[in-house]
Structures are given as structure tokens and as C-alpha cells.
């Protein structure tokens, strides 16, 4: 485990008078899988939005590889190598699975704009590259059978994998996954854990994971950050978190009579 890749430094976000995220600080290290957990309404997705530029923090800074990325537009954050998925499944519904993944490689496929009309060899080489890469991702995520189906016709499990495929296609350094296991059955969740491990270990991607399926969290994460009511209440290894009284209280509620 090496230096901090992503750092949140006292980040807060208010909606009206309500603080959805309050003074949250943590760091994701390069090469690790860090999970962000907490009960409903704890501010996990808001934190995601604050990191990826979909929301601007009310205060505090976000740094990626030491550079301040606070308040950058989402596409700028993505172009730095921070790519996210969404809680409710989000893909390019009307496009085929293949085109979804091709579109995901937008950043890699960029050429000078005039090349749009005079593509030449460079563009066709780039195109061929992208196709190969797409086929590879289709294979890797077991979507080959669905190659030409429109994304919106996919069954749920395939859809969630497609979502991850799009994010991987974008070539991230840090991958942010928002509840990738929601709605998956036990076997599918196990596959997901395997997938995360391969991506992390073999492809060298760092992962920030928001997940409710504790099985997945406990198995996949190197470390865990716990939020409750917008504040960080714990940080540590899965084993430490599992036995943390405050975390258990946050999840199961306090027993009557406890302070």
C-alpha cells in the first residue's frame, strides 16, 4: 500500500439547512479497495457526488494525486482518471452493448477535432484498437452473448456488469462503484467480488466502493470507512469494523436505555 491517491479534507455539503455530509476526511490509497459504508441516508452517495464533481462541496477540499480537484466539472474529473458508476443502474439504454463499451472509451479515442472529417489512418487504427479493447471487455465481463443487444433489453445482472464495463472502458485509475451488488443474488455477488479483486490486483486499479451488501464489502475491501448522519464514525480493516460497537449501533440502532 502506497501513498494517498484520493484525499478528502474536511468536506461538507449542505442542502438548505441540512448537512448531508459534515467535515468528512479520509484518504484512498493507491492500489487498495476502500469501502464506504453506513446506513441509509448516511451521505455515501453525496460523498461520491462531491468527489466526482456532480456536486460542489460547501466547504473542504478534494485532492487526487495531490492536485486539488474540488469543484471541477464531472467530465474534467473523469479525464483525470476518476470514473464512477451510479446507484440506480445507468447505461446508454438505446445503444447496443458493444456501442456502450465503445462510447465508454471516449477519452482514449479522442483525436484532434478535424480528424472527425478527415479520419485517415490514425483514426482507423484507433478504431481498430477500440474494437479489440471492446471485445476484450465483453469477454472479461461475460457479455459476449449480448454483444449486439440494446442495453435496455438486458437482464439485471448483465446490466450491472455492463455498467462496470463502461466504467472500465474509460480507463480509470480510481474506480468509484456505487452499490454494484444491489439486486444481485448470492452467486452473482460472489462473481462481483472476484471481478473486483481481479481488476484491483491484475489491472492495478484502485477502487472506492459504496455497498450495502456486507458480504461483498467484507470480502473485497482492504479497508472500510463508515459514515453515519453525514459524519465519519469509523475507519479500519474489515475485522476491526465488524467488531466496532459504534458501527453495530449505527446499523442495528441503539438498544433502549443505552446512552
Amino acid at each position: 500500500m502506497s501513498a494517498a491517491l484520493l484525499e478528502l479534507d474536511g468536506v461538507s455539503r449542505h442542502f438548505g439547512g441540512l448537512a448531508a455530509v459534515r467535515e468528512v476526511s479520509f484518504a484512498a490509497r493507491s492500489g487498495e479497495i476502500l469501502s464506504l459504508i453506513g446506513p441509509n441516508g448516511a451521505g455515501k452517495t453525496t460523498t461520491f457526488n462531491l468527489i466526482t464533481g456532480f456536486l460542489r462541496p460547501s466547504s473542504g477540499r478534494v485532492r487526487f494525486r495531490g492536485a486539488d480537484i474540488t469543484g471541477l466539472k464531472p467530465h474534467r474529473v473523469a479525464s483525470l482518471g476518476v470514473v464512477r458508476t451510479f446507484q440506480k443502474t445507468n447505461v446508454f439504454g438505446g445503444l447496443s452493448v458493444f456501442d456502450n463499451i465503445v462510447t465508454g472509451q471516449y477519452l482514449k479515442a479522442r483525436l484532434p477535432y478535424w480528424r472527425t472529417w478527415f479520419p485517415g489512418r490514425v483514426a482507423s487504427a484507433r478504431d481498430a484498437d477500440m474494437r479489440r479493447n471492446t471485445e476484450r471487455l465483453l469477454d472479461f465481463l461475460d457479455l459476449k452473448r449480448r454483444r449486439d443487444d440494446p442495453a435496455m433489453s438486458l437482464p439485471y445482472g448483465d446490466l450491472r456488469r455492463l455498467e462496470i464495463a463502461i466504467a472500465l472502458a474509460a480507463g480509470p485509475e480510481l474506480l468509484l462503484l456505487d452499490e454494484p451488488a444491489a439486486g444481485l443474488n448470492t452467486a452473482e455477488a460472489k462473481d462481483l467480488v472476484r471481478l473486483l479483486r481481479v481488476v484491483n490486483r491484475d489491472w492495478g486499479l484502485s477502487i472506492l466502493l459504496v455497498e450495502h451488501n456486507m458480504g461483498v464489502v467484507m470480502e473485497a475491501s482492504h479497508r472500510i470507512v463508515v459514515l453515519n448522519f453525514g459524519e465519519k464514525i469509523a475507519e479500519g480493516t474489515p475485522d476491526a469494523i465488524r467488531s466496532d460497537e459504534r458501527v453495530i449501533a449505527a446499523y442495528l440502532g441503539r438498544r433502549q436505555g443505552e446512552p
Binding site: L18, P39, N40, G41, S153, L154, P155, Y156, L159, E179, A182, G183, L184, N185, T186, H212, N213, M214, G215, V216, V217, M218, E219, F229, R242, V247, I248, Y251, L252, G253, R254, R255, Q256
Partner: protein, 237 residues
């Protein structure tokens, strides 16, 4: 006692996504039953299917012996089931008093509605103080009270409560617990979905635990609390 609400082998799908697969449960008259499970397990979906917001793909829902799974929300409400939805869903630009009036939308007995209004104000004195305020200007806790009050205005025999403690401070959660008990004491059955498992199991006599759209355990709350499977359902193995 026999079950007022019985849900048998309920299947619900959102488009391609199967959300519930054969969920069954029962609520008896005047009873508080908790429905717990991890996020995304399908708890809210059960409530939405019971109140008619969703059409089940298979299975049946009966209330007081009558099948209700193809009725409109309006008819289900009239049959005596009120649903207090997740995230409160208050009407931000409508006053507290008017929200309660609208809660009695389907009722024809003015006297009864008046009685229920007084009852709601008795449960939640804060609402009476703020009756002229727009709902959007209330605090989170007050909005939750308003949402419950609105559901009670239809004089239900069964109240479906979806995550009422969500986003409330511990003090407010205690208040809420007391109110739910009061409602229960007034003879209303409650089907409670809660992520705060301790609160849920304290209140409920019985509970069902569901995981990824399926029943996993059910039983008396007291025994469930000792069950490791429950902790596992929340914090993983």
C-alpha cells in the same frame, strides 16, 4: 386471531429486474410486525405492492379475507390500509393543516375526520403548533410526523410504515417509538419497515427478515435478536 393481511408468494419485477421472489408474510389485527433486512433487499417493494403502487407479477395479497392485489391504491386505502412511504413524500407547498385534510381525502364522515385530526395533533403536538406552515419549511423530523399523521387521517386498520426513523436524531427516534406504540394501542395494526433493527424488534411482536427479495427468517422478535443470522444479514459473514 386470524391474519388481517396476508401476503402469499409475492413476485414483483421492475422491468427485467426481479425485486421480490415468493415473499410471504401475515399481520394479525392490532399487531405490530417488523420487516427487516439489508438495503435493497426488497422491503419497500413489499409495502408498495401491498398498497397498490406496484402490481405484483404473481402471488396474492388479501386483506380481511378479500383479495386486494389488483385494486387501485384508492380502493386499497378505502379497504383500510394506509401507506406512509419512504422518504416521507410530503407536499412542500401545502400547509400542515391542509395536508392532514387531504389525508382524509376519501372520507365522507366529517366528524370522524375531525376526531382523527385531533388524535394526530395529540400524537404530534408540534404539528398543531405549525399547522399553518408549509410542509416544505418543516424540519426532517416534523416532516416524518406529518407523513405519519397524513396516513392516519384515513383511519386505517393497518398502517404500513416505511423507514420512519430514517434521518432522525436519536431523540426523535425515541419520540417516534412512543408514537408508534400509541398508534398500536389505539388498535391499528402496523407493518413496520425499519433499518433500525433494535427499534423495530423492540416494537414488534414478530418480525420477518428478507434478503435479496426472499424470506430468510421469521419469528418472535425476542428470539430473533439473539439470532446470529440477523447480524449476518446486516454486517455480512
Amino acid at each position: 386471531m386470524t391474519a388481517v393481511l396476508s401476503v402469499d408468494h409475492l413476485d414483483v419485477a421492475y422491468g427485467q429486474v426481479q425485486a421480490l421472489a415468493g415473499v410471504s408474510l401475515a399481520v394479525e389485527a392490532g399487531e405490530i410486525v417488523a420487516l427487516v433486512g439489508a438495503n435493497g433487499a426488497g422491503k419497500s417493494t413489499v409495502l408498495r405492492a401491498v398498497s397498490g403502487l406496484l402490481r405484483p407479477r404473481a402471488g396474492r395479497v388479501s386483506f380481511e379475507g378479500r383479495r386486494i392485489d389488483s385494486l387501485s391504491p384508492r380502493d386499497i386505502l378505502r379497504a383500510g390500509i394506509a401507506h406512509c412511504p419512504e422518504e416521507r413524500k410530503i407536499w412542500p407547498a401545502i400547509t400542515v393543516a391542509e395536508t392532514l385534510e387531504l389525508g382524509a381525502y376519501t372520507r365522507r364522515d366529517a366528524a370522524g375526520a375531525e376526531r382523527d385530526r385531533r388524535r394526530v395533533y395529540a400524537y404530534f403536538p408540534r404539528l398543531e403548533e405549525r399547522r399553518r406552515q408549509l410542509a416544505g419549511t418543516l424540519s426532517g423530523g416534523e416532516q416524518q410526523m406529518l407523513a405519519i399523521g397524513r396516513a392516519l387521517m384515513s383511519a386505517p386498520k393497518l398502517l404500513l410504515l416505511d423507514e420512519p426513523s430514517l434521518g432522525l436524531s436519536p431523540m426523535l427516534v425515541d419520540d417516534l417509538r412512543r408514537v408508534i406504540l400509541d398508534i398500536h394501542c389505539d388498535g391499528v395494526a402496523v407493518l413496520l419497515v425499519e433499518q433500525n433493527v433494535h427499534m423495530a424488534l423492540d416494537l414488534a411482536a414478530r418480525a420477518y427478515v428478507i434478503e435479496t427479495g426472499r424470506n430468510v427468517i421469521d419469528g418472535r422478535s425476542a428470539t430473533l435478536l439473539q439470532n446470529d443470522a440477523l447480524v449476518r444479514a446486516y454486517l455480512g459473514a
